[in-house]
């Protein structure tokens, strides 16, 4: 008659497909919202969902309906004071019948339609703006060290890995198992013999037979090998990725007047990518922001991206500061140091040479990787020409040019592609 069915374990997320369709339909609006969100967020905070709102008028599903006007006569509950024929001031809203819906008038509220993107959805939109169909995971190979770790025992391996105790224990077990039947019979036979010896003559055929059997059994037991190849056990060692404990990421940016908001935005996206990338390899990442025009300062992220200072450009000021900070705070071998430098490449002429020398002689020996991006749609500047000489001396220096936001991801990949060893 009645059926009671437990459906709790099936069919969750039936709406996922429809949700996806909704997002696809309003992709434009959502992308805008994501772009706004990136501006407002810190680099470390990027991997969260995001609240998105879309103007209601954009997603309204229209229907025929009445608007206010003409004659409406509506029955309402809760009369306290009125008598028939009373006249009442029309409420200010102009809706004749107080608040609440009159008939099915369709004056929807003007609030935006707001909802939350999940983290995955957010990341998809984030990377999509970089014209990247699928997230990095498979592409980016982190430069992880491996460590050897014991993982039980195997039956094959090199002699140097033979585990003696395990092998002998196995052999003992095998000997007991293989010999048990014979040993049992041997014991019985010896007891029978002893009994017979007391009652029978020495040459009784039963005694002879038992002696023969006993001899046979002993031989047999002796023949069981002490150590058989199948007993051998080897220590098993496997390689596991060893996350280097910590890293520090330096964001060095030129904030001279020529770095406009669009360029800073491109730089930010680049830094975010770097952060996401490093996050996969390290348990702990610190981020240090250094900005410079003619002078360099260490600043908070907020100041970093939102400052409106301008002036000339002396890139070496930032490099001196970088060197100083590394020496003071990140010099120990526990730190993996990464530097990403973004600039439009415009530098004071003589300074570029200084920069190159500083990098080759002081900074490069201390860092894991140094990436320089030049954000400009013009010709490469003098800093670029100087920097091109560095990779010969220091293979872990890389540089690329970003002309438009679409370049960010390809450039990033180019910079961080797996290096042939």
């Amino acid at each position: 008659m009645a059926y009671l069915i437990d459906r709790r374990l099936q069919g969750k997320n039936k709406s996922a497909g429809n949700r996806e369709r909704f997002l696809r339909r309003y992709k434009g609006q959502i992308k805008d919202a994501v772009a706004r969100a990136i501006k407002g967020r810190s680099i470390k905070d990027i991997e969260h969902g995001e609240k998105v709102s879309i103007p209601v008028k954009d997603i309204n599903e229209p229907n025929f309906g009445h608007a206010h006007g003409g004659v409406w006569e509506v029955v309402r509950p809760g009369n306290k004071e009125y008598q028939k024929g009373d006249q009442i001031q029309r409420p200010k809203s102009g809706s004749g019948s107080g608040k609440g819906k009159a008939g099915n008038s369709e004056e929807t509220s003007e609030d935006d339609f707001a909802f939350e993107l999940t983290r995955e959805e957010f990341m998809n939109y984030f990377f999509e703006d970089l014209e990247l169909p699928n997230l990095v995971k498979t592409q980016l190979k982190s430069i992880t060290e491996f460590k050897q770790q014991r993982a039980g025992y195997t039956v094959s391996g090199t002699p140097s890995n033979i585990h003696v105790l395990r092998s002998l224990r196995g052999a003992l077990g095998r000997r007991i198992a293989v010999g048990s039947k014979s040993r049992k019979r041997l014991k019985e036979a010896e007891e029978e013999l002893e009994v017979l010896m007391r009652t029978a003559f020495e040459d009784d055929h039963r005694i002879l037979a038992l002696r023969k059997e006993i001899h046979h059994l002993r031989t047999r037991l002796h023949a069981i090998p002490f150590l058989d190849p199948i007993d051998l056990r080897y220590s098993n060692r496997i390689k596991v990725p060893k996350p280097s404990s910590q890293a520090v990421m330096f964001c060095v940016m030129d904030v001279s007047g020529s770095m406009d908001q669009a360029k800073k935005d491109a730089a930010k996206r680049f830094f975010i990518l770097l952060y996401l990338f490093l996050e996969r390899a390290y348990e702990k990442i610190e981020v240090v922001f250094i900005r410079h025009h003619t002078q360099a300062t260490e600043v908070t992220e907020d100041e970093f991206f939102n400052s409106r200072e301008s002036g000339g450009t002396v890139v070496s000021s930032a490099l001196y500061l970088l060197d100083k900070v590394i020496q003071e705070r990140y010099a120990s071998s526990d730190w993996n140091v990464y530097v990403a430098q973004a600039s439009d490449g415009d530098n004071w002429d003589n300074d570029s040479v200084t920069c190159r020398e500083l990098l080759i002689n002081k900074i490069m020996p201390m860092v894991q990787y140094y990436a320089y991006v030049e954000i400009t749609d013009g010709e490469p500047q003098n800093l670029w020409h100087e920097y091109t000489q560095i990779p010969d001396a220091c293979p872990h220096f890389a540089m690329q040019k970003i002309e438009s936001p679409a370049d960010i991801y390809p450039v990033f990949r180019e910079l961080f592609k797996k290096q042939p060893k």
């Binding site: 008659m1 608007a67 009373d86």
Partner: protein
């Protein structure tokens, strides 16, 4: 299929240990956690009582689901299966957001008008709530679905799930063939007209699922040939066409816009006609529910109240259960007055429940007033009377027939006349002797979908010229159309394939206003 927003009371924390069963009769332990066994047991008791009262139902299927699943079900208007569309995703996001923020309790039950009748029980519900939902949905709504004349006429409980499966597959198939975008645009347009995709008076021919599928291909061919035939009258080049007078098309105005489009839109492909048909069919399926909200909820609420009270009288459920139940029930049937900030129109649960209770009262303890107003039912058998009312009415006629002066007084009903030609609002009637009949008529009219929705019909097609479609809006009480009208007309034009004109006429037939919507160039890819 209906959703019910029964508010959940705060969960009791301290549950007394279950009492020992005292002898034969089942006694529900005083605890708030449910178990499968307890649900089975209480369901048996509810069924026994419901059958004792003569409730006739489809077989019941109870399904335990999670809150997430409830949101899924909610997002597709309660359908267990539905075709894919972005608007359901929008619905889901909206539900999810308010649910997560705690702004809204979820509906505690969704019940599907199908055979067997499926009711969802949410796992978060207390034992009391599960019992309430079973009584409300599986016996209240279920018996209404099975017996009310509108549902009997318009919905086929045997076939709906199959039909939804057919629709889902058909539409998915179209997406494969013609692209998601093309299907989505078509569905958008159909949805904009779904309230105008119902037959109000014609009786449907019932088709089983198997026949439906079988006939679908035949239908495609046939429809297409009909359409071609219709458009044969379109002049070819210089050929002279006789100005034959009476070839007006359609011969009569058509109220079912989607039906008209399905049959006569010149350029639709066969698969597009089928999708128009699907939306129309589903809309028709929901049409009885839109017309019986007060009755359906009133009936279900009346029965959960009556059944659980009986179980209490019999000692099957205890005091704690009853306290918790009454709290929920009271919330459900609360009607905030118009002055309250919670006022949001008339609560159909409150009105429906009050009227059902009132009918029982008139049967059992009639006053002189009742004898005067309801000579036929005062003092009659309440079960028969209520059963008759449930079977043979919709909200509009139910209120016109049964709303008593007592209920009007209890609700302090009054009517407000808002005429935009006057400076002030006028109170046109209140709950007094002079006002009862007037209020009853007014309130009944308020539930007439024909008054609630603008009356828009297909008026004519210019078969000899530009093929434009003219719709007519017969204005009611001088009420203007809302500001979405242009958007809807664009959808009509997309379906029709040519220009669409909407004329607003007054009751005398004079045209007051004309809105024209040029058809955008069709992209006939694929």
């Amino acid at each position: 299929m209906t959703t019910t927003a029964i508010k959940k009371p705060a969960r009791k924390t301290a549950a007394k240990p279950a009492r020992k069963k005292a002898g034969k009769p089942f006694r529900l332990p005083e605890q708030s956690e449910w178990t499968f066994e307890l649900i089975e047991n209480i369901h048996q008791e509810i069924r026994r009582v419901a059958e004792g009262f003569g409730l006739e139902t489809y077989p019941n299927q109870l399904e335990i689901i999670t809150a997430e699943q409830m949101m899924d079900a909610y997002a597709s208007v309660g359908m267990p299966v539905s075709y894919a569309h972005w608007s359901y995703g929008k619905q889901f996001l909206a539900t999810e957001k308010s649910y997560k923020r705690g702004h809204m309790g979820l509906a505690y039950e969704i019940v599907i008008n199908s055979n067997p009748c499926i009711a969802y029980l949410m796992e978060e519900n207390s034992l009391m709530m599960q019992a309430l939902v079973i009584a409300h949905a599986s016996y209240g709504h279920n018996s209404f679905f099975k017996n009310n004349y509108l549902f009997r006429t318009w919905t086929d409980a045997e076939a709906i799930i199959d039909y939804m499966v057919f629709a889902k597959n058909y539409i998915a198939d179209c997406e494969q063939r013609y692209g998601i975008e093309a299907v989505e645009l078509l569905l958008d347009s159909c949805h904009a007209l779904q309230n105008y995709g119902v037959d109000r008076y014609k009786r449907p021919a019932k088709l089983s699922m198997a026949e439906e599928r079988e006939r679908q291909e035949d239908r495609e061919r046939y429809l297409q040939s009909q359409v071609n035939d219709l458009w044969r009258t379109v002049p070819r080049k210089a050929e002279v066409v006789q100005e034959a007078g009476p070839s007006r098309f359609p011969a009569e105005p058509q109220e079912n816009l989607l039906y008209f489009i399905e049959k006569s839109a010149p350029l639709l492909e066969p698969w597009q006609r089928e999708i128009v048909r699907i939306v129309r069919k589903i809309s028709q399926y929901f049409y009885p529910q839109r017309q019986t909200q007060v009755m359906n909820e009133g009936w279900a609420t009346f029965w959960h109240y009556t059944i659980l009270n009986q179980l209490y009288d019999e000692g099957v459920v205890g005091n704690g259960f009853m306290m918790e139940f009454l709290q929920s029930h009271t919330n459900v049937v609360y009607q905030p007055p118009i002055t309250s900030k919670y006022f949001n129109g008339i609560n159909p649960y409150a009105l429906g429940f009050a009227m059902m209770q009132d009918i029982r009262r008139i049967c059992e303890n009639p006053t002189d007033e009742d004898r005067q107003w309801f000579p036929d039912i005062a003092g009659s058998d309440w079960k028969k009377t209520l059963d008759f009312a449930m079977r043979n009415f919709k909200d509009e006629s139910f209120i016109a027939q049964y709303l008593s002066p007592k209920v009007i007084r209890d609700f302090h009903f009054f009517s407000v006349l808002d005429d935009d030609k006057k400076d002030k609002l006028a109170i046109s009637a209140i709950h007094d002797d002079a006002g009862y009949r007037y209020l009853r008529e007014q309130l009944a009219g308020q539930y007439n979908l024909g008054n609630r929705e603008p009356n828009i019909q297909v008026w004519s097609v210019d078969t000899h010229g530009h093929r434009s479609l003219t719709l007519r809006h017969n204005q009611y009480q001088r009420r203007p159309l809302n500001n979405q009208t242009n958007e809807v007309l664009k959808h009509v034009a997309r379906l029709w394939g040519f220009d669409v004109i909407l004329e607003t006429v007054n009751p005398e037939g004079a045209v007051l206003d004309i809105i024209e919507c040029k058809c955008e160039k069709r992209q006939r890819g694929s």
